[in-house]
């Protein structure tokens, strides 16, 4: 019996669509050949979705490209590389061209750069159809229209649009339509939702689930996000440093991971449905230049035995015994069923009872944006009347999608962006709207850490120099300051003489943190500081932040779009939509109790790892239009809210107090919303959005 999509069939399994047997790939570099894939063997059956998971540097994208026969800049060795019956290794260029786009489709990671900016998207799709001889002229245009409708872009005028006129999510739908244009047997998707909003991501995943159910089409879905795998993939393959670590049915691999790396991945991913007990997140980073001859994961593995680093690992049936589940770890049997004997990860949150005076008090804060140009145009409100407090030692999370105004709010607090109104108090002192008017003491007490670690350190200054300058500005002197600061963020003090480009992304972000900490602030504004980091690195930085905060009683305003982080780390949460705070609540209460419809939508859209409740494919809801500038008298969420009533368009909703503290802005009474709220552990099929 074999499983395809949502159907189970009897009879002998049909021949696999993709056969990869002992494939090795080397890339040419300035220093010679670099092995990126090591004798990988995989199969994909017709109609099956295989998820390919790994962090950056694992070789997953390379493997995806090999399914299209890519040859440029590399050399390949394979016992077999067959897709749809064709031998990709031996096929000539013309033959490859016939296959690509016709029998094998590809959805790239970045849709914006993948679409020709000088072509209308409808023409691009029609071209794909015509070049492969599937249809011509009017028939091609017809097919284009149907494809666009199928991917949720039925709105008239889309086909005539240029790529830059579409949003990121719409561009990715166009890329999916392009990949499907000629009805391929296999579609390779290379991290198609990275860089998209969490709500957009959920929509794309729902679209793919629907397409999968409608067509007998195999998919190779490459991602670093386990949650998406759980939602889409029948089987999953885990890769590490070019080796296949584990492969098997999704349920088996995620429910009972056999390889220590898989376990670490699962534990590292901040999960909205809570971490499994006893799981330890990943530590360290992948060092491609220092891989041992045996198991590549050995340097980072908590369970490595002396022989692991020397012995080459081979795929063997996993101890838990589900069919097809194989793992490349010689210690798998020893580790099976072990839980793993380590104590549960320390809870990242501290108890709220110890919070004292407010460190930051904000009331009526508004920020407006004046479009540039000589013609005086009206200012657009970006943040409307925000009001909240942060107590000493508290972590307040600020959550919202891109464009919600969260970064603008933070920049207004730090004084980089002018205020249109409102007051901000640091302790008891009012903060001037502009940073230039603030006192050195105020600057020291309020620190800011930026999102992008590549841009936040001066590339021409050593780590030590940057830290020294920060210390001096804060009025601190001393010989050991730099060493102390680096040690506090778990960086070897010997690295002080290095330049930022010699450090990894995670290390740079730690240095940025150290720079903020060296001033001994009361409050740090963290502006999406984890978004640019790999999943496995994020967990480490978050744990560090939790520890430092506990040690120093530091308050944080933590801006993020990742609700899973909020659940595990924050004390209270502010939910921001179109510049308005629609809910303020204790973190636990948000996930368990009454919630604003937008907060409900965010929670429902967050990917989950528990694969049990596989969502039934639903007709996809029409994509929400861009929120229009809310009329002065209406609720900002009106356009998207599934519960809207007539009163919502007439007057702004009142701020209703919540039983456990906090407030919620909605016309619907709180207890009604509390009844609506399902248990947040359920899959995305449950809450309507």
């Amino acid at each position: 019996m074999w499983i395809s999509g949502s159907a189970e069939m009897d009879g002998p399994a049909p021949a696999p669509l993709v056969v990869i047997d002992r494939l090795s790939v080397d890339y040419r570099t300035a220093l010679g050949w670099d092995r990126v894939l090591h004798t990988v063997s995989l199969e994909i059956r017709p109609g099956e979705t295989l998820g390919l998971v790994g962090e950056s540097g694992s070789g997953k994208s390379t493997l995806g490209l090999q399914c299209l026969g890519w040859r440029r800049g590399l050399r390949r060795q394979a016992a077999a590389l067959r897709v749809a019956g064709a031998d990709l290794d031996r096929l000539d260029t013309a033959g490859l061209r016939r296959l690509r786009g016709r029998r094998i489709g590809f959805v790239p990671q970045n849709p914006t750069t993948a679409l020709d900016p000088a072509w209308r998207v409808g023409d691009l799709i029609a071209e794909a159809v015509e070049v492969h001889g599937v249809a011509r002229g009017a028939a091609a245009r017809d097919r284009t229209a149907r494809l666009l409708a199928r991917v949720g872009l039925a709105r008239p005028g889309v086909a005539q649009s240029f790529p830059h006129q579409l949003s990121g999510g719409q561009q990715q739908r166009v890329c999916i339509a392009l990949a499907l244009a000629c009805d391929p047997d296999l579609v390779v998707l290379d991290e198609p939702t990275t860089g998209l909003d969490v709500t957009t991501q959920a929509q794309i995943v729902a679209l793919l689930a629907r397409l999968k159910a409608e067509r007998l089409m195999a998919m190779l879905y490459i991602t670093h996000d386990l949650g998406v795998i759980a939602a889409l993939a029948d089987r999953v393959a885990v890769m590490y440093a070019g080796h296949l670590a584990e492969v098997g049915d999704t349920v088996a691999v995620i429910g009972a991971p056999a390889h220590p790396y898989t376990r670490g991945l699962i534990a590292s991913a901040p999960r909205i449905d809570g971490p499994p007990p006893g799981a330890a997140p990943l530590t360290g980073t992948l060092r491609r230049l220092a891989l041992p001859p045996g198991c590549p994961f050995a340097p980072r593995c908590d369970h490595a035995a002396p022989g692991c680093a020397e012995t080459a690992q081979r795929l063997a049936p996993a101890p838990q015994g589900s069919p097809g589940h194989r793992v490349a770890c010689m210690r798998a049997a020893a580790l099976a069923g072990d839980g793993d004997g380590r104590p549960a990860a320390a809870r990242l949150r501290t108890e709220p009872s110890t919070f004292r005076d407010p460190v930051l008090t904000v009331s009526g804060l508004s920020v407006a944006y004046r479009p540039p140009g000589l013609l005086a145009r009206r200012a657009v409100p970006v943040v409307r009347g925000a009001a909240f407090t942060i107590a000493a030692g508290e972590v307040l999370a600020l959550v919202g999608e891109s464009g919600s105004g969260k970064s603008t709010l933070a920049r207004a607090l730090i004084g980089l962006v002018p205020r249109a109104g409102g007051t901000v108090l640091l302790g008891r002192e009012p903060l001037a709207p502009g940073d230039r008017a603030r006192s050195p003491a105020q600057r020291r007490r309020l620190q800011y850490v930026f999102q992008n670690p590549d841009a936040s350190l001066n590339p021409a200054a050593t780590v030590g120099a940057s830290l020294t300058r920060a210390a001096r500005a804060a009025g601190r002197t001393g010989a050991d300051l730099v060493a102390e600061a680096l040690a506090a963020v778990q960086i070897d003090p010997g690295q002080a003489g290095r330049y930022p480009d010699e450090l990894s992304g995670g290390q740079r972000q730690r240095v940025a943190l150290a720079r903020a900490l060296i001033a001994e602030p009361d409050l740090i504004l963290c502006d999406e500081i984890l978004s640019a980091l790999d999943v496995s690195v994020q967990a480490g930085v978050l744990a560090l932040l939790a520890r430092i905060r506990a040690e120093r009683g530091l308050a944080l305003l933590f801006i993020t779009h990742d609700l899973a982080v909020v659940r595990g780390f924050a004390d209270r949460v502010l939910v921001l939509f179109a510049g308005t705070i629609v809910q303020e609540a204790a973190a636990a209460a948000l996930f368990a109790g009454a919630r604003h419809p937008y907060a409900a939508a965010l929670i429902a859209a967050a990917p989950r790892l528990v694969p049990a409740a596989r969502p039934a494919p639903q007709p996809e809801p029409p994509p929400p239009p861009a929120p229009p500038a809310a009329a002065a008298g209406a609720c900002v969420y009106l356009a998207r809210c599934p519960h809207r009533r007539s009163v919502c368009g007439e007057s702004p909703p009142p701020a209703r107090p919540l039983p456990g503290g906090g407030m919620l802005r909605c016309h619907i009474p709180v207890d009604e919303l509390a009844r609506e709220a399902p248990d947040s552990r359920d899959g995305p099929g449950e809450a309507r959005h």
Partner: protein, 287 residues
Amino acid sequence: MSLAEPAGRGRRPWSGALAIGATLLGMQVLLAVAGPFLAPYGATEMGAGPPLAGPSLAHPFGIDQLGRDVFSRVLHGGHVVLGLALSGTALGVAIGAVIGLLSGQAGGLADEIVQRGLEIFISVPFLVLALVAMVAVGPVASGHPLTVVGVVALIYAPRVARIARAAAREIALRDFVLVARLRGDGPLRRMWSEILPNARSVLLVEFALRASYAPILVGSLGFLGFGLRPPTPEWGLMIAENRALLLVSPWTVLGPGLALAVLVVGLNLFTDGLARRLGRHVDFGVG
């Protein structure tokens, strides 16, 4: 046909550019400095041989119509061209860099005004501007080496300022400059500690790039008769002076021409190699 796939081994074609360029340049500098001492005849010494005589071992580039040995004149002229070119460029780059960096960091109205001002100078074709400047300084100053240096600087400063401003603006937007601002560093301090160190490679390459065209600019002025006055052995001037003898004794023109070309090739290679080493990209020409 494969698209943009390296047809060769993928080795970068100019790995030796910096070395070759530096060598050529080094030789030129040596010759420029030592030339006047090595030259068999003086720069203005007439009667070195029969006028219009062709090339020979004693006179590799022949004799011009005034009886001067062209080869010696070329050797004497090395330091003239090199000196004028390099000092004019240095002056232009220094002025341009200061204006550009300050303007780029300041932003706002001041920046806009400076940009408009620079645009005026850049919008007049450079050779035309140079010629007009030469005439505008009056008959006494025109023909003086310092005037030539000043004119070269006048041509280059606005262009360098534009590049420096673009670099400053791009750097000023990066988060680490914001961090410096948030901790209370003033604009001058930020310019010095954060922006300038990151603009160093841009400015260095600009200098090399402009310096590589400067000999041609100086030569053009000399050729047109608006550069240094005769009997200075400036190569462009020599080419103009000896043009009439082309059919009779072409080496009197080719000699200085070759010298100029070798100098510029050396400068170009050096600039290209330097740019690659610093990870930057250059487009030759005045621009």
